[in-house]
Subunit: 408 residues, 2 copies
């Protein structure tokens, strides 16, 4: 059995930062239609081709007039002819040729036959209520910067600027390798002694949400040759490799041996639980992250240990998750282990915008289902005493960091 | 020119609630692979087919033993044979046949040849550290409820339960009809006097984000026959119809006339600006929402007046947007209009988790680009005095209601 006394352990930030600093990659780009770009990260600065408006346009539903006609104050409009002395002009529409000023329609009384007009307002300057050429957009105006997440607003300004396509950061390909003699693919007829591989569905769905392109390697047993072949397939095809299980203290932890021999293991484990047996290695220049098998731990360690690599590849949103200080509503036991223990909590807001929280118990069936009730994590340090009602505790919100709802 | 004195106006909630109450629809479902279900809304309650584990499994990396061997305390293990008296068992793996109890591996000393063992712990009960059959999941356990948004966790418990497909609410089809004589499709060669239809890109991208399936009708001019034809195409093909512009006070506001004649107009406008000229009608039993043309108003009125219909169709997340009380950092002018005026603001958190906010100016080029800086809206009532630094103001967060970042 493998000797674990030489395993290198680190804190949750230490392990990620170390592997990030060893990862040298070239961020690739691809061109997509603007209609498909929402949520993608811009790979280039894009400027406007267009000038808008390219003709003076009315700022409101109005009548277009000649400012010079008001040189002596309100003119006599009884003989004014539509088309010559005045004309309708709607919001955002080009001013009729020759007219330079607009008066809002509410200040005009137009006859039923729309031929005669009486005005109740004298414009104060030439061009009043008219949007001048280029006031909205000019060639060269920046529409989106490098590294900016594209939103519906971005899609609209790209359109204004004349663009139907945009260059975005390619989705990082993340190969997920499920391993384990005891696992089988999803089925409703489970052979005795076997378990379902549910982490593939969990982690591949998270990867999609984070903007990566997951590739699920077929399930492989705890066989060194197959593990190595899968890792090599990963480093060949993917930007980031995630391998599930195989770093535990059992007799089948070949993954660490293989990575030590073929690559470099920076950390064999994290000094934190659940999910302690997560490893951080480099193979063929690619990051290889081992996520421990049990689903309840994998559910949040994937956020802590895989998402940062996706974020860094994309080049946006690389900040640590936000934290809030919450008043605890319940008691939680401490622990006497020389490591950090992670507790799931539900955070809420009070009516005076303070935050409160309580532990989320995963004690119903199936336990993992109730993980979604936890929008926060509390990291209890070594030998922590837990918490009592009224304690103020730092809570790290879970992605996507939605404002916690009211407590009632 | 159309007489607007008969136009019916309502508040932003009144207009939406009225149209929602007139909308009688049948929520449709479709079956999708679990791998594509994330973000969709479950259309059925789904229960487990599987029982897991279906054999006792070890809770940790351990050695499997027979509890009866410890009847007299710690047995003499010097002659113990692997396979007969003890065996390795890893986390989550089926206990070897006949063994009923597990001792964590750290409490065992195994010889290098893995044949001899010394134990440093006596188990306290039969089945200690063993997950019994059905403890994780049993047939009939609920995996997801009707109306629940499917998450990566849901995908994993569906997998555990033996499901590779799931029934989800069909995406509501929303037809977006851009109209306007002055508009053209996106191009980098804009004819003089024309403007780009940028609202199609804006609103169709929002619709996708909200979980709808947008269908963009080709751009049509301000022609009654074409407007009617487009509206009929909308009610025939879509669940919800959105028509852009055409309800303004100009000479080309045929849309309201058509909807009054062919259907029923509940509200011709909202008593709120910008974006006052949004209309709410029923045609052929379908909701028809008119969104006013100018992009700066359309950018947020689409959230206020279209999103609720998508949310109600999907049957999840139908609550009003959350609000926070923020201390204003700047001054903002009031207004003297007998209607609500909406101001964009940027909300931040202070280090003691209080909220602060300031107005977002859309005064650079292109103005709309800076709308993304506003994560909140302030609704200033009729004749509001605006705000001064230090005022506590209610701010409505903008979707997706992310926790505001720190102010520094």
């Amino acid at each position: 059995m493998r000797d674990h006394s030489t395993h290198v352990s680190g804190s949750r930030h230490e392990v990620v930062d170390a592997l990030l600093s060893e990862w040298h990659f070239a961020r690739e780009a691809e061109t997509v239609p603007v209609a498909q770009a929402c949520g993608r990260v811009s790979a280039q600065q894009v400027v406007s081709t267009n000038q808008l408006p390219n003709w003076p346009t009315s700022k409101m539903d109005a009548v277009a007039v000649h400012f010079d006609d008001f040189a002596g104050g309100m003119p006599n409009t009884s003989a004014w002819v539509r088309g010559a002395d005045w004309q309708f002009c709607n919001t955002g529409v080009a001013m009729p040729k020759g007219f330079d000023t607009a008066i809002r329609i509410e200040a005009a009384e137009v006859s039923a036959d729309e031929e005669s007009i009486k005005l109740n307002y004298v414009p104060q300057c030439r061009g009043e209520s008219v949007t001048q050429v280029g006031a909205v957009l000019q060639p060269g105006d920046v529409l989106v910067e490098v590294g900016q997440v594209i939103t519906p607003v971005t899609c609209s300004v790209l359109s204004m600027g004349g663009h139907t396509q945009v260059s975005v950061v390619k989705k990082p390909v993340v190969m997920f390798i499920p391993t384990g003699n005891e696992l089988i693919d999803v089925t409703d007829a489970v052979p005795v002694g076997k378990n379902i591989d549910s982490n593939s569905a969990l982690i591949c769905a998270k990867l999609e949400q984070w903007g990566a392109r997951p590739v699920r390697h077929p399930l492989i047993p705890d066989d060194p040759d197959q593990i190595l072949a899968a890792l090599r397939a990963g480093t060949a095809q993917a930007d980031i490799v995630v391998i599930n299980a195989g770093s535990s203290k059992g007799s089948d932890d070949f993954t660490c041996e293989i990575l030590e021999r073929e690559g470099r293991v920076l950390f064999h484990e994290v000094n934190q639980g659940p999910g302690r047996h997560c490893s951080f290695s480099v193979l063929d220049g690619k990051p290889v992250i081992g996520i421990s098998g049990p689903p309840v731990g994998a559910e949040f360690t994937s956020d802590l240990f895989i998402k940062p690599f996706v974020d860094v590849y994309l080049g946006a949103n690389t900040a640590y998750p936000p934290t809030v200080r919450a008043r605890m509503l319940d008691s939680a036991s401490g622990h006497s282990r020389p490591m950090t223990m992670v507790r799931r909590v539900a955070v809420r807001r009070t009516r005076d915008d303070a935050f409160v929280a309580r532990a989320v118990a995963l004690d119903d069936r199936p336990a993992l289902r109730f993980a979604d009730n936890a929008n926060g994590l509390v990291f209890l340090g070594p030998n922590s005493r837990g918490w009592e009602p009224g304690d103020m505790v730092e809570v790290e919100l879970r992605w996507p960091y939605t404002l916690p709802p009211y407590v009632d």
